[in-house]
Symmetry: C2
Subunit: 416 residues, 2 copies
Amino acid sequence: MNEILEKIGTKAKSAETLMAAASSATKNGALKEIAAALLENSDDIISANGKDLENADKNGMTAAMKERLMLNSERIEGIAKAVGEITALPDPVGKVTGGGALPNGLKLTKITVPLGVIAIIYESRPNVTADAAALALKSGNAVILKGGQEAINSNIAIVNIIRAAIAKTGLPEDAVSLLEDCSRETAAELMKLNKYVDVLIPRGGAGLINAVVQNSTVPVIETGAGNCHVYVDESADIEMAADIVFNAKTSRPSVCNACETLLLHKGIAETALIRIKERLDEKNVEIRGDEAVCAVIPGCTPAVDDDFYTEYSDYIIAAKVVASPDEAIAHINKYSTKHSDAIVTEDYASAEKFAQGVDSAAVYINASTRFTDGGVFGFGAEIGISTQKLHARGPVGLPELVSYKYIIRGNGQVRL
Amino acid sequence: MNEILEKIGTKAKSAETLMAAASSATKNGALKEIAAALLENSDDIISANGKDLENADKNGMTAAMKERLMLNSERIEGIAKAVGEITALPDPVGKVTGGGALPNGLKLTKITVPLGVIAIIYESRPNVTADAAALALKSGNAVILKGGQEAINSNIAIVNIIRAAIAKTGLPEDAVSLLEDCSRETAAELMKLNKYVDVLIPRGGAGLINAVVQNSTVPVIETGAGNCHVYVDESADIEMAADIVFNAKTSRPSVCNACETLLLHKGIAETALIRIKERLDEKNVEIRGDEAVCAVIPGCTPAVDDDFYTEYSDYIIAAKVVASPDEAIAHINKYSTKHSDAIVTEDYASAEKFAQGVDSAAVYINASTRFTDGGVFGFGAEIGISTQKLHARGPVGLPELVSYKYIIRGNGQVRL
C-alpha cells in the first residue's frame, strides 16, 4: 500500500476515538478557534492562493475557473464566518433515537455516533476545505480531505491553520488531514482504504462521481450530479411556468440544482414554448428540442438522446413534448440523476401523481428546482446533495454525518 | 450484459413504481395470500426440496448442512406464519419524518419512500427466500433474490408460489424474482447492475461479504460477519461472566452473534479462566489462548494473531489477557467485525467507557452477545445484521429498507 495513505489513514483512525468522545463544548471551542485562526492568518492563505493563481495562469486556466479559485480577505472572512456558524447547529452525536426495556429486563438504547473516518474528494473552490473540515469536526468524525491540484497551495495553508487551531483545544490535530498527493493513482487507492476509511464522499462532476462509484470499495455517499427537469403540465399557469424555467435554468447554470431539461404537455406545448423562449432569449439560452419542439421554434437545434442525459451546466436546455404526466414521470425516472425535478400545474391529481411518481431527492410542485440546498431547507451547512438512496438523500448536513449504535445494559442475562 | 440479468432487472424496475404506490392494505393482502399459498402448496415445495436433498447426497453434503436445507410440513408452516406476521408490523413507507414551512412560503415534507429494487444474495436455508420476499414487499420494494445452488429447486418452487399469489392481488408479480443462474460470474454481474438495482444486501459468511465489498458498484448493506467478544473486567462477578461466556459461545455457535474471543483483565484472569473453562468443558470447547492464558490452562492451544480475526462458528474460542479496559477496547476495535461485543463488570466507569469506546453495532454490559436480533430487540422480522455504519447498523428490518425524499409545494417561488 501507498505509504502516505497508510500513514494518513493510521493517524486519522487514531484520532477517531477521541473525536467520538469529544463534548459539544469542546468541539464548538475548536470551531471558534479555527474561525479566529483563519482570520488571523489570512495573509498566509492569500499568499499561498497567489501561488495557485500563478500556476493557473501558466496552465491557461479559464477566467471563470480562476474566479472560483481566487481568495481575498473578504472571501476568507466568509469562510471563517461559515465555520463559526456551525457552532450554532445542534450536535448530531449522542442523540438517543430509540430504545426501551425488553421483556427480559435488558435496557436498550439506540444512540447516534460519528461515522468514524470520512474521506472527501472534491474539485471545487478552496472554501470547501474549511467547510468540510468544520462539518466533520462538529459531527465527531475524523476527515481526510483530497482537493484538486489547482488549489493545493491554498488547501495546504488552510489545513495547516486548522490543524494548529485544533491542537490548541486538546482535540487531536489528526482529526483533519489533507492528502497532498493529488494524483489519480492515489485517489484510486484512497477509494479502497477500507481499513481506515468508513465513508467516502465525492463532491464534484459526473466524471468524479462515476470514477468513485466504479472503483470505491469504501461505502460511498454520491453527491453533486444534477440532471434536473421542469415539467409544464397541461393545466399550468404559463407565466408561472416561464418564471420557474427561467429561474431554474439561468439563475446559476453551473450548479447541480439548475434545470437541464424542459418537458411540456402536448396540450400546452406551443403557447408555453413561445413564452418560455422569450424569457430564455434574455440570457441567450440555446434550446435543443425534439421534433415537436423544433416544429414550434424556428431554428431550434434538434436534440439527440444523449442531450436528455446531459448536465450542461451552461446556458443550454433540452426540451421535449410529452403526452401525459405519466410520460413526463417515466422520462424523468429514466434520464434524471434523481436530484431535483419540478412540475408546474394547476391540477391537483397531476401534482400528487408527480410528487409520488418521480423518484428524486427533491420533487417540486410550482417552484424552481434551485431551492435544493441544506441552507434553504433550514438544515444549516451541507457537504453536498446526495443523489443516492442509501443513508442520505438530498442535502447532506450534520444529521447525515452520523451513524448509530445500540447499547444494551443488563444484569447477567443470557439467551435461552 | 448478461441477457438474463438485463431481463430480470428491467422487469424488477418496471414493478418498482406500482410497488412504491401500493397501500398498506394491498401489501398486507398480498402477504396473507402468500402465506396461504405456501401452506396450500407445501407438497410442491417438499417435493422440490427432495430434489435438492438428493443432490446434496450426491455431492456429499454434511449432515448439519442437510439439516439446514431440509423442509417439511412443520417448517413450511413456520415460514408461512413468519410471512403472515409481517402484516402486523407498521408500514415503513409514507411516514412523514420532517418538514415545515420555509420563510419564502414553500412547504417542505420529508417522507419515507422504498429503496426501489433490492438484490439479496444469500447462502442460507430456503426460508430466507420467503422472509426476504415478504420484507421487501411490505417495504414497497421490488426484490431480486439469488440463493445458493444447493437450494435452487426449493427456491424456484417457493418463488413461483409467491409470484402467483402476488399476481392475484393486483400487484406486479415481478416485484419478486429469483435469479436461477447461481454461478459466481452471474453473481459478479449482479453486483454491477447499477442500472436496475438500488441496494445490494449480501447475507452470508465472510467470503461472500468480502466478494461483494470488493466487487459491487451497487451500494451495499453488509450483513452477517460476526467476530464478537466478551471482555471480563477486573471487577466482574465471575459466575455471571462464566454464564455469559458459556451462553455467548455455546448456545448456537454457528450464528453471527456468537462469541469468538474472550478477553480477560489480568487482575482476574486466573480465577475467571479456571471457572469459565469448567463451563466451556461441558461442551468441549477448544480454547486458543495467548501466553498468559496458556500459563493458566494446561494443554491450551497457543493462539496466533489470525485466531483473533477468525469467526470460528464452532466450539472454539480465542482467549487473551489484557491490562486494562482500554486495552480490551483497542483490541476489539482492531479485530472485531463491529457486530456485538460485551463487557462483564461491576465497575460503573469501566461499563461506560466500554459502551462509549467500542465501535460496534451492539455493545452489551453484563449480558450475552447472543441477543443481537431484530426479533429480540422488538423490531419484528429482520433481513440480517448490518456491520457497516452507512444507512443501517445492527438488525436490518422494515424501517431500514426505505429511503426518503423531499416534496416541496409552492405557488410559483423562484430563487433570488
